[in-house]
């Protein structure tokens, strides 16, 4: 693990993902790599010296000095409107990290894996799935992704490709607000019945990672434990009031 100090990263690419989410690809001098599920702290400093810090999950699998964040623009946010609206290729950004170790999964931890994400809570889960694919891992994995509608699903095309690879990943969406014509999938919030249908039986002792808005995370973790899953194998990361999937 590297020293935790603030450093300047170069923005090398800004890529829209959805109407409200952009991927920021950063080149971070001296970056030592990271583990899937970790985040960075980003710090913005105003001209008058006022500083605001926020934690953003890393979306990419470890890849040299390149780090990708996926940032959702919150209209009343202090930091995200700048990151996901103003920042351009060639700009610099102050950050420190990687930080976090609790909400981390690497293929050698095994599975089966149950990933449950709400809205931008899918970002650290995506890093896990990208690492899984990069390593050629066939640890059985199921992603249950709650989103307001299909247009708000981040990484949709890539998730389709990953699932089509046929290496043991399934992706299931729950669209909570609006569904396209002919939608036959889930059209409600994640609940216990859904977790029982999509997830693994408790007897298989899956590793569960749940990330998203606090309400979703706490509801899902509560359902999993009530269904008989070992609480010590259910890891959570709460994003607070961000988004309302």
């Amino acid at each position: 693990m590297g020293r935790l100090s603030w450093r300047l990263a170069d923005v090398v690419e800004v890529r829209p993902e959805t109407g409200r989410v952009v991927t920021l690809a950063l080149a971070v001098p001296g970056w030592d790599g990271h583990r899937p599920g970790q985040h960075v702290d980003v710090r913005l400093t105003a001209e008058d010296g006022y500083q605001a810090e926020r934690a953003y999950s890393i979306a990419s699998a470890p890849d040299g000095s390149r780090v990708e964040l996926a940032v959702e623009r919150l209209e009343d946010g202090e930091v995200s409107p700048y990151l996901a609206g103003e920042l351009r290729k060639g700009d610099q950004l102050e950050l420190r990290g990687p930080v976090g170790g609790y909400f981390v999964w690497e293929p050698d931890r095994g599975g089966p894996l149950l990933l449950v994400g709400g809205g931008s809570g899918v970002v650290p889960l995506m890093a896990m799935l990208r690492q899984r694919a990069a390593d050629g891992s066939n640890v059985p994995a199921r992603l249950l992704y709650s989103s307001r509608d299909l247009e708000d699903v981040i990484f949709r095309e890539e998730l389709e490709r990953l699932e089509a690879a046929g290496d043991g990943l399934t992706v299931t969406y729950a669209l909570t607000r609006a569904q396209p014509a002919g939608w036959t999938g889930y059209a409600r919030r994640v609940d216990a019945v859904m977790l029982e249908e999509v997830g693994w039986p408790p007897g298989e002792r899956p590793l569960a990672y749940v990330c998203g808005p606090t309400r979703l995370v706490e509801a899902v973790a509560g359902h999993l434990v009530a269904l008989g899953h070992d609480p010590s194998r259910v890891r959570t990361e709460r994003f607070g009031p961000t988004g309302v999937p």
Binding site: G101, Y102, F103, R215, E218, R235, T236, R238, G240
Partner: protein, 96 residues
């Protein structure tokens, strides 16, 4: 939906950077024991209420305050009364 305390609740992951800055360890994987109910958990599982100056972290089992941390005027303030013990794992040390 109206916002209440629930929405603002984070967990130990959200203050990993701040704790690493103070302790020099990746604290979310380190274990602590609640002085109130005796439950041991990794600090990543703590329930956290963050504010401008710092954060309050609570036991996920009973809700007791485990750790209060604040910074201001070039100082860090720590209140660890809610922890019976805190274990720092050498493997979680941030390299210098």
């Amino acid at each position: 939906m109206t916002m209440d305390e629930t929405d603002l609740r984070l967990d130990g992951n959200g203050v990993a950077g701040m704790l690493a800055e103070v302790f020099g360890f990746e604290m979310t994987v380190c274990w602590g024991c609640c002085a109130g109910c005796g439950a041991s958990n990794q600090l990543g599982a703590m329930l956290v209420y963050a504010h401008g100056m710092g954060a309050v972290a609570c036991c996920p089992a009973c809700g007791q305050h485990l750790l209060r941390i604040a910074r201001g005027e070039g100082r860090w303030w720590l209140d660890l009364r809610g922890l019976a013990w805190l274990q720092l794992d050498e493997q979680a040390r941030m390299a210098g």
